[in-house]
Amino acid sequence: MSAEALPPPTNSPDSLFYKLGNTPLRDLLRGRLTARLDLRRLVANSGLPRSLAQLVEETVRRTRLWRLEKLDVAAELISHFKDGLEAGDSHEQLANSFGDIALVAKLIRRARKRQRLLNRVVATSLRRGAQALTVVFTLLIVTYFVMAVRVFTGAPRVSRDYVQEFNAAARAIPPEHRAWPVYRQGFLALAPWPAPFIFKDIAPDRPGWDEYVQFAKKNSLAIDLFHSAARMPQLGTVLFDPDDAELLKRAGVSNSIVIPSGLTDRIAPTIISAVFPEYSVLRTASQLLTIDAYLAVKNGNSKRTVEDLDSLLQIAEQLSHCHYVIAGLVAATVCSHACRPVAFLLEKNPKLLDENQLLELSRRFYGIANNDRLKVDRTGVRAFFDDFVQRTFTDNGEGDGILAPTYLSFMNAIEYVGQSPADTRLQSVMHRLVLPTYSFMHAGKRVTLAKFDDLMRRMAAEQERPLWQQTDTDAEDELERLHGNPIAQWRYTVLLRLTPTLSRASFLFNVAAQEADACAVALALEAWFRRHGAYPSSLDGLVPEFIPTIPPDRYDGKPIKYKLVDGKPLLYSVGANRQDDGGTLINGMPPDKANQRAREWIAPKWLPTSTSEQTKLRGDWILWPPIESGIK
């Protein structure tokens, strides 16, 4: 073995390429060209005898480690051999005791790789990640089983029997004051309608009118019964009334929400599955009475005209006491129906009614529009929601609870209204497996009810302001935001599926009230004309003898707008653009569409700002003479 040192490498240590090729990246990033990765130069410059130097170089090369690791190992081996030589060992002894190069290189490689920071970090991360996952998974499993026990051992508690409460109120009405049995009788006496029809198209002298004249004549008994029923003070319908069975069959009203019989047996009848046939029946009655009123005007029968109109307004009155939004909307529709024969009367046969009859009718229209009759009644909505919650959440005795298995059955019944529930056995099992997780994520009973009440209270505060003071719909906007939020969709499923947005209903009540206002003013103007031989120059003179107050324009809060056009009264509202455009319609579209466009509410903040867009909305909402009825 040679004791000579290795010759130095021939490449120049000053060359830029050499330096770049032998500088670690970390040094380059610090702006230093250290060229310290050159193993051969390190070994050659170590001063070790050739045999030991070759041993070091060969061993290190065979480790196949990263270059910096190789340098570290080489430096240590060089140091080791130098220590040996300094201690008096010969280079032959040191080389002989070194062992097999391939084995040494392999063992060093294996040991050094264990030292790599990345390996340690990855191993530690994987270990900790696995531990964390195990903890999380265990917690989830435990939570799932806790929730499953809570869900499947908890039971709903029906603390309020809403059906019984509603029925008790109806049954407390003396039989002779209950209109519903008489309406039902009238409906059962009704001959079939001539053909499918669009009600707004039915009017004297329009195509098909003669058929409806015959129809009204054939149904004199039903009309008489409807008149009798309308004279009674209250509707008095009873939920799940067995006497309605034949009527339901005739009206084609199915029991639209079918709660599985097992549930209803266990948890008393629920308002959720109640059917309300009165809305369909009273709508039909009002259509027939409207036709009869047209006929009476045409035939010059003042008594019958007054009787028909009075009955129509009384039906609206009866419905307005029903505590359901849908009942209120039917009342608004009936009101709208009643305005149409009045318009026909004032145009075609204005002298049919005497001054007193005109003023009495005016008073009736004014009353229904301004005595809080046409408004959103949330009693029924709250009852429906509370009844659903008390049957689909468990109860811990303190008013709180979580979703119960009954939730699945009720939700299924509501989702598949009018259809057979599509829940297969497999789906049913899957739903039950998911329910504990769902219950865990869903808000509890107390929070759900509190959130519902909060939204309802805020909606009421917004919607019960006069239309001209309404600016935004914060509560409904929040509801919309919740609909768009995936977490909220889980947390508030019950709330989101069952909370109605009532702003449209509230607006339609304003439309109906404004139309009834116009009708009241038009009748008062006719009475004034009868006495003075001309219409007044302003509405102020009508108050108080002809009308208690001038009704407000629902869009600006000021008196309803009035002017004479060709000697005839024109009543209008400024409409959605809140600008008085002189009682003109929006240009460029048919009159009924223009009028509808002008009346459609737009929040002040969304009103157009550009001149071109403002022009498209320039026009008023014509109230009298009616252009179209608005509510169908």
Binding site: V73, A75, E76, L77, S79, H80, K82, D83, G84, E86, A87, S97, F98, G99, D100, L103, V104, L107, I108, R110, A111, R112, R114, Q115, R120
Partner: protein, 115 residues
């Protein structure tokens, strides 16, 4: 006497940890100390020592530090970590227990008895 490879694999780390418990040492010094203090029984060449040191370093039982020696050369010194001290104590107990067991079996003769 040479120790079987498998036995060496268990004894080597404990011996190195024990030597380092008295103060820091460098590679060649450890080779020499193991050879002299064990009468060559635990003598190990570089092929065994350096992988062993690197393994102990990877387990954080020892740490190596490059430092200038008295001679002016750079040398890598090893010293025991806190974790290494704990491991040495554990190892010592295990070896004591093993020796006692071997004694009770007669594999290791009791002092003063003929083997």
């Amino acid at each position: 006497m040479r120790i079987e490879k498998e036995l060496m694999r268990g004894a080597g780390p404990a011996a190195v940890l024990k030597l380092l418990s008295r103060g820091e040492m460098y590679g060649y010094e450890l080779v020499e100390a193991l050879s002299k203090r064990t009468d060559g029984v635990l003598a190990m060449g570089q092929s065994t020592l350096y992988p062993l040191l690197y393994n102990l370093e990877a387990k954080r039982l020892i740490e190596g530090i490059w430092r200038e020696a008295d001679s002016g050369r750079q040398r890598k010194y090893y010293r025991l970590t806190k974790k290494g001290k704990g491991e040495l104590a554990k190892s010592a107990k295990q070896w004591t227990s093993l020796v006692e067991t071997m004694k009770s079996l007669g594999v290791v003769p009791e002092p003063g008895t003929a083997g």
